[in-house]
Every structure is written in C-alpha cells, then in structure tokens.
Amino acid sequence: MGTQPQFDIDDSGHHYHYFDEFPGSFALIAPSESVENAIVFVHGFGGDACGTWTNFHLMIDELQWNSSFSTTDLFFFQYHSVWERIQSSTDRLLKFLQVVVFEPDTRHFTVLLDPILVDGDLESSGPTTNVLSALPADRHYRQIHLIGHSEGGVVIRNAVVKKASRNSPLLRCHLSLFAPAIAGYAPAGLLGTLANFPGVGGIIDALLKAAPAYQDLKDTPFLNKLRRRTEQEARDESKHAFRAHILWGRNDRVVKPDKYEDDDEDFEERNHIQICKPTPQYSTPVGWVSWRMGL
C-alpha cells in the first residue's frame, strides 16, 4: 500500500459507495471531513435498499435539504427480508452496524484502484497508490439514527432488545419508524409479497382496502415478547433506542397502527408503500427525518 495521492477538492454531493461484503447495501458518504451524524435505513418485507427509499437518495442533496444532510452519512442496509427469519436479519443488521457504522472498518470503505492505475506500457499520469478510502476522514459518529420501514422497524427493535443487557452504542441510537410492523403484518403468500411492490402494491392495496378480514393480523408470541421487553427497558431514559417516533399512513392496509407505550406517533394521508417515499409534492419523509435528527 503506498501513500495517499493528492487530489483536488471535490465539493459535490454525497458519494455513492457500494459494500462488497453486504450485497445490495450502499452508503451515501458526505463530502465533509467532519461528520458526526449517521443515518441507517432498514427496508421492509419485499423491499430493498433502493426502492423502499425512492427519491430519498436524491432529495438529500437538493438545495432545500443540503444544509441538513451535508454533514451526515447515510447507510442503506439491504437484507433478505422475505427469505430469512427476523432473527437472522437482525443478526445481519447488527454485524453491518458494528463494522460499518459503530466502528467503521476501513476494509469496507477501501476501493482498489488497480483498473485506473497506469502500467509499464502506458504513460505515467495516474495515482501512485493502489487503494483509496471512500471516507474523506475517519468517522466517529456522535449521533446515529435508525430509520425503518415496515418489517425493518421490527428488525431494528429486535436488534435493540438483543443488545439491551450490554453497553452497546446501539442503545444510544435514535429510532424513527415508518409504518413499522410491530403489531403484526399480513405478508401472506404471493399477494402479500406483491403488496410490497411499487405500482403493483398499489393495486393490491386497493384490494386489501375492501377486505377487513385480511387486516386481522395475529399477534405472535415473538412480537408480544418484543413489545414487553422494549416497554420495560424504555423506563430507563438514557436508552433512547427503546423509544421510537413513528409515522403511520392513514391509508395503510398492511400493518396495524399500534405503537408501544413510550413511542410518539404522527399520521399522514399515505398508504403502506407511499409513507416513506418522498416526492417533490410530499417531502414529509425527508423533513421528518431531518427534524428527528435535529438537523
């Protein structure tokens, strides 16, 4: 490994960095050297790190929001939301948080420059080292925010409970959840899966609207235990992570809007899919996250 090359300063927006060891997950890294805030996005059932958060990635670099997010790194975590059990997804999230956010391991941010290095046959004008970090400087985040949608909310809360008895940085994280499936979910079969597809999901949602029976979600022992443990721990005010702020969709036919005792909540005129997707006409998700971060 050689010395770091000298580069011009690039003052553009966030840099898109892909993680080899966490397929599908990626980060939007702030151009600033001094960054103290991180946000981790966890999608829901059938979603992914890109589609669930449509437009979020773009809007944070808009003039209107840039001052809020220009010193914040954003991480979009991807997992096998349909195929794997919650416990397995939780384990993946915890590993991701540990090596990427809590104690960023340079290995995950290092990019091999070999393809753009000159070799003996070519004119020498390229950089002289063969690796470069996607991080402009070491990161030690002071404030970390976990944002979940649907099943992602359950995965986050389960991760928090798993670390309840330890002195984990996870317990100091702040939680903001879009329509979390903490009181159950109805992902039955193919229709349930389709309900999470953009577009097609809207059609399924229209069907679900007329079928109240479909809404009778069963509280599983797992969800009940998660609730009990979280509410118990929330009494300790120093542990932010046991209290969440929730944004529900009034037209959501997929999850029950049933918060935990110490959670705060708001409602928006959106369905389960729309609730977390900002558009030029509906900037609430970006504004809400910005406000929750105190940015």
Partner: protein
C-alpha cells in the same frame, strides 16, 4: 484528477466489468451498456477522462470479442460513439465534455443514482432470466413455454421471489423475473419523473432521456417488433398465477376483472414511461 472521480471509476470497473468478466458472462449487451455509462459519466464530469482512457485500454480485449456494436442492443448514437472511441488513441481525453452551467448542474448530481438503478437491474438474477427469455428464446421455444403457462404455481413464484439466488430457467423464475423487471421499470419511471421536475428551464430533457435512458434501453425491448409482444404475453402468465389467489381471497368483494383492469392500466403506464424515457431515440428512428 479528483479523489471522488478515482473512487467512482474504480468502483464502476469492479461492479460492471471485473465481476462480469470473472464469471465469463459478460455478453455484448452488458459490455456495450457499461461503455455507455462510461461515455456518459465522462461527458458530465462524473468520471475523469484520463482515467477513463486507462479503463478503455483494459476493455479493449473483451470489446473486440463482442464485435461491432449495432442496434437493437445499442442505440444508433451509442453505436457511433463506441466506433469513434475505437478509432482514437486517447478517446476520452479527446471527447466532448459538458461545460459548466445549468445543464451540467442538473445532470451530474443525477448520474450516480441513474447508475445505481442500472447497476441493480444488471445485478438482478430474476430480471435477467426474464430479459434473457424475451430476447434469446427462439419462436418455437417461446411457443412451447407459453403452452405450459397454465401450470405455473403461485407458491413456486413466491419461492423464487423470496430467494432470487435460486433463479433458474423455469416458468416460476420467468414470472418472478417479470415482476422484478416491472419493479425496475417503476424505479426508472420514478427517477425520470424526478429528473424532469428538476430539469432546468430551457434545458433539453428529451436529449437527456435519449442519452441516459438509452443506455440500458435494450433490457426491456419494447421497440423491437418481434420481442415486444413477448413482454405483453407475460401479463397472461401473471394472470395464470395470481387469478386463483385473488379469486380465493377476494371473491366476495371483487371480481377478477377489477384486479385485471388495474394491473393492465399499471402495465400500460409503465410501458409508456419506458418508451418515453428510454426508447424515444429508437422509436423515432424505427
């Protein structure tokens, strides 16, 4: 050179060229598309032209194995660009680049996201099964597959959606892949609608669509008269899988036609959006 430009190009190489080449599965369409992104990335300033020239040298061997680029895998304009690059010793250093101004201020920030969406489409195994079947099955093979459509099982489709790594050349994967393709089309529509809403006054949004959208237009070949009907056929396969489920779950509130009507409208709007944002150049010259 800029630190970010180096990072971007090295990552681009890893994702789009190196990994595909390692698997020895980088077909012509994929390689031409990668070159399209390289060209556009240099044009808007996302990649450094000197570094792009180095990458270009490394691409020369797989490129020569792919033959001469020509429609329908690439647009006429991209084909001409690639041929021009081949004839130059330092193609990107000598290529045209955007000047500073409103149009560059519009295009450069959007580029990484356009590339992200394209990368996800590229990496999607299920979508690849679907696009492969549409493009490469012979007429006879397609006909044989269609005859078996009534046997498609919704639970198998669910299994494929749940575990895309198990994608294979079968009906369930084809339908699951079709749903993924629709998802990519939806993501594309959303992206271009966002882009349009931020396009500078007096800017040329149509040109932007032709250049950027045209790069991966080949993945959903709605402009090819012999392949386009296959894409439409797939909504019938969808009906075979989902109709029994919808009728079982919602028979007391909806007839199948309600779902079918909504689904059909949804597909039509996605097709229109794909044609507008990705195929306008091809359709204009067809």
């Amino acid at each position: 050179m800029s630190r970010l430009q180096s990072l971007r190009l090295a990552q681009f190489w890893r994702l789009r060229i190196e990994l595909g080449a390692l698997e020895k599965t980088l077909p012509a369409g994929e390689l031409f598309e990668a070159i399209g992104w390289l060209i556009e990335g240099v044009f808007c300033g996302y990649f450094d032209p000197r570094e792009a020239d180095l990458v270009w040298v490394r691409m020369s061997r797989p490129l020569s194995a792919c033959g001469v680029p020509s429609p329908p895998l690439v647009s006429e304009s991209l084909s001409a660009e690639i041929i021009k690059l081949r004839e130059s010793r330092e193609p990107f250093r000598q290529s045209l680049q955007m000047t500073e101004g409103a149009q560059k201020g519009f295009e450069l920030p959007l580029f990484p996201h356009a590339l992200l969406l394209a990368n996800r489409f590229y990496e999607d195994r299920l979508a690849r099964v679907c696009t492969f079947c549409i493009r490469f099955l012979s007429e006879q093979e397609w006909h044989d597959w269609k005859r078996g459509w009534s046997s498609v099982d919704a639970s198998e489709v669910f299994e494929k959606l749940a575990n895309p790594d198990q994608a294979s050349m079968d009906l369930a994967s084809l339908l699951a892949g079709y749903l993924h393709v629709l998802e990519h089309m939806e993501a594309s529509r959303s992206f271009f609608e966002y882009a349009k809403s931020h396009s500078p006054r007096g800017g040329d949004f149509e040109s932007y669509c032709q250049r950027v959208g045209g790069i991966n237009a080949w993945r959903v070949p709605l402009h090819e008269w012999d392949l386009s009907p296959r894409f439409k056929d797939l909504s019938e396969l969808m009906e075979f899988a989902i109709r029994p489920v919808v009728e079982r779950e919602f028979a007391y509130v909806h007839s199948w036609s309600v779902f079918q009507g909504s689904f059909s409208d949804h597909i039509s709007s996605l097709v229109r959006a794909w044609e507008t944002h990705h195929l306008s150049a091809s359709l204009a010259t067809a």
